[in-house]
């Protein structure tokens, strides 16, 4: 973690620190730059490699039809979809970790991903030809139901992070089992269901983006607006209530936003794990635990992680693909082990 110290030396950062604000600028700048670089690389490399000039002409003109098709129709929408998925999952994870005051909370562990995934599996089995906006809407419905169940079962009235985690794990296992049952008994089972279960961006297009954006953009905005209340909630329920936060209403709202964001991500990429767990921790290392910074920086890290994971997923065994979720888990699982071992 050399970056925070480097950042601390900057005058701007010192001023920020004096104001009781964390020291975000340099790290965030670095991450943004990295996202730009990885993003551009993912436009260049794949089963077919393009030069920077070809990527540029593909992005900006129709002059090179092949580059146009590859960049504009395949890679660019997929890149944008990936960033959207990463940001949504990471924001969802940071909200959940904040609201549960539990560093291990994330949409997968608390069963929200599985709830959205179940809804998605149901709609695909009922109607394999369902349009993407219908799938996204169904996912969101599923995600909200999952979040609502979590609230009703584990959270109404008295707060207990343990009860919440147990309920989440149970819901996750239950919905996960139903998903597998549904997919393995369904007529439409294909190898593509592996991409759904492990999470992947194969075949993502503008229509996935169009279907998910109406949920993700408001979701992320509301998440930013809620970050002040989340800061208060981090101090404990009574302190938060004393500071003027309606704790139950805020929690329900936050869970609903998590349901929305997670489900929209699932509608694009299936059951991607660990993004929501890892990114908030990385963000916390970088900018501290003030949610006003943590939430947006998590979003940035989420976009970066998914973009990088998808690039790897496309390159490793090209022209075939490994589901992108394998790579987020490959980064996420060791990180979780590190947390368990060294950070309690």
């Amino acid at each position: 973690m050399a970056a925070p110290h480097a950042a601390q030396s900057g005058a701007l950062v010192r001023r920020a620190a004096r104001r009781g604000l964390p020291r975000p600028v340099a790290i965030v700048g670095l991450a943004l730059l990295l996202l730009l670089i990885v993003g551009f690389l993912s436009l260049m490399y794949g089963a077919v490699n393009l030069g920077p000039g070809e990527v540029w002409s593909g992005l900006t003109s129709d002059s090179d039809l092949f580059a146009r098709n590859v960049v504009w129709k395949i890679r660019y929408p997929r890149l944008v979809d990936g960033m959207l998925v990463g940001a949504a999952l990471a924001v969802s994870g940071s909200l959940l970790q904040g609201v549960t005051r539990n560093p291990l909370a994330d949409p997968t562990i608390l069963g929200i991903t599985a709830a959205a995934g179940l809804a998605s599996a149901i709609i695909i089995v009922i109607n394999p030809q369902a349009p993407q906006w219908g799938i996204a809407m169904t996912c969101v419905a599923g995600g909200l139901v999952g979040a609502g169940l979590l609230f009703i079962i584990a959270w109404r009235g008295a707060v207990s992070p343990v009860r919440l985690a147990l309920a989440g794990v149970a819901l996750s296992a239950f919905f996960g089992a139903l998903i597998v049952a549904l997919l393995s008994s369904s007529r439409t089972f294909l190898q593509t269901s592996l991409g759904f279960l492990a999470g992947g961006l194969y075949g993502s297009e503008w229509r996935d983006f169009d279907a998910a954006v109406p949920y993700i953009v408001p979701g992320v905005l509301v998440a930013f607006l809620l970050s002040g209340r989340l800061n208060a909630l981090a101090l404990g329920d009574d302190v938060a209530a004393g500071l003027g936060v309606s704790t139950d209403r805020t929690r329900l709202l936050i869970l609903a936003v998590c349901g929305l964001l997670t489900a929209a991500a699932v509608s694009i990429a299936g059951l991607v794990g660990f993004v929501g767990l890892v990114c908030p921790h990385l963000a916390r290392f970088s900018v501290g635990s003030d949610n006003r910074y943590l939430v947006p920086v998590s979003a940035l890290y989420g976009a970066l992680l998914v973009t990088a994971a998808d690039l790897a997923a496309r390159l490793v065994i090209a022209p075939s693909e490994i589901p992108m979720g394998i790579f987020t888990a490959a980064v996420g699982a060791p990180f979780l082990l590190y947390l368990v071992k060294f950070r309690g």
């Binding site: 794949g46 089963a47 077919v48 039809l65 092949f66 098709n69 590859v70 129709k73 395949i74 890679r75 809804a119 149901i122 709609i123 009922i126 109607n127 394999p128 030809q129 369902a130 349009p131 993407q132 219908g134 799938i135 809407m137 169904t138 969101v140 419905a141 599923g142 909200l144 139901v145 609502g148 609230f151 009703i152 109404r156 997919l183 393995s184 008994s185 369904s186 007529r187 439409t188 089972f189 294909l190 190898q191 593509t192 991409g195 194969y202 075949g203 297009e205 229509r207 139950d248 209403r249 329900l252 609903a256 090209a318 022209p319 075939s320 693909e321």
Partner: protein
């Protein structure tokens, strides 16, 4: 708290409501796979010599305009590859695990049938993509393919009739109606000959696949292997079972059911490549199956994986022959 009380319930109702709405409204752009055969048949009357551009209706019922005779073709499943060659075309790109015809093996591999690589397809700069109307019918695959800016026709087969339909379609696409008509006629004749030889024996048979857990799945007439048996008048005791399990057109077959059916013949299909043991050698070793008629009479026959499962298509003639030989001994 009172204000909060009904909110979770409201969310639930909202969620369920939109679930239903999405479920009902989803079928507006989905041509079902059964919509196609008559349409393409009507258009493909053998004697009409088609001059390009030609407009064809593919097996998903889509209308596609072919501007000139396709020269740079990518075919995305074994079936699609065989259709192209049967109509006198050639390919430059193909899906993985294509073994027939020999000439196709040299074409560049562009991902697997279930996960075609769009970039590599484009890199070959094709003037036609032949996708599989069975494998690529889902919007998640169909739509990206349609968006590549290259004409794409969907042709695939899960039945005898679809093989004929596919040939008719490809004859129009490649302007080789004479060739495909002849081939269709010989396929029909092969079916009729085989039926004449087999039907008189009045045999019952099941066609089985096993998955990795040795769960058995029996082909129903809705599957390609099931239809091949059905076309020859072979009684299929599993025909009336409900569809279940992951393989479309197949039904999960409990061991008790197999014993109850006790068919004259068991055709086995082994998806796992060698050296994995063939199901036909495994099955007779399983104790409960030792008393089966087919086992004691040595009538458990390994069916060719490509002919019966992986590459439905013009080689259906060979599939008919294989069954005829197994049943009649000649």
């Amino acid at each position: 708290m009172k204000r909060l009380g009904s909110l979770p319930l409201f969310l639930l109702i909202l969620a369920l409501g939109s679930l239903l709405a999405a479920g009902c409204s989803g079928d507006d752009d989905g041509p079902s796979t059964s919509a196609s055969p008559t349409a393409s048949n009507a258009a493909g009357t053998p004697n009409v010599k088609a001059a390009y551009p030609v407009t064809v209706t593919d097996l998903l019922g889509r209308t596609v305009e072919i501007k000139a005779k396709p020269k740079v073709v990518v075919a995305l499943s074994p079936t699609a590859v065989e259709f192209v060659y049967a109509a006198g075309g050639t390919i430059v790109g193909r899906s993985g695990s294509v073994d027939f015809p020999e000439a196709a093996k040299a074409a560049k591999e562009v991902g697997t049938a279930y996960q075609p690589n769009f970039e590599q397809i484009l890199a070959l700069k094709p003037d036609l993509i032949v996708a599989d109307s069975i494998i690529h019918a889902q919007p998640q695959l169909k739509k990206p393919l349609e968006d590549l800016g290259v004409p794409v026709v969907f042709a695939g087969a899960d039945s005898f009739q679809k093989v004929l339909d596919g040939l008719t379609l490809m004859g129009r696409v490649f302007d080789s109606t004479a060739t495909t008509t002849t081939l269709s006629a010989s396929i029909t004749k092969a079916r009729d000959d085989a039926k004449a030889a087999v039907a008189s024996k009045d045999v019952s048979a099941v066609a089985l696949i096993a998955d990795r857990d040795q769960t058995l799945y029996a082909a129903k007439p809705g599957s390609y292997a099931g239809d091949v048996m059905n076309q020859l008048g072979i009684k299929n005791p599993a025909a009336s079972q409900p569809d279940s399990g992951p393989f479309p057109g197949y039904t999960t077959l409990a061991p008790e059911k197999l014993i109850e059916y006790n068919p004259d013949f068991i055709f086995t299909i082994t998806p796992a490549p060698a050296p994995a043991p063939r199901l036909s050698t495994l099955l007779p070793q399983i104790p409960p199956f030792k008393g089966l008629k087919a086992v004691t009479n040595r009538r458990v026959v390994e069916a060719n994986l490509e002919l019966f499962l992986q590459a439905p298509g013009p080689r259906i003639i060979e599939a008919f022959k294989a069954i005829t030989i197994a049943v009649t001994g000649s």
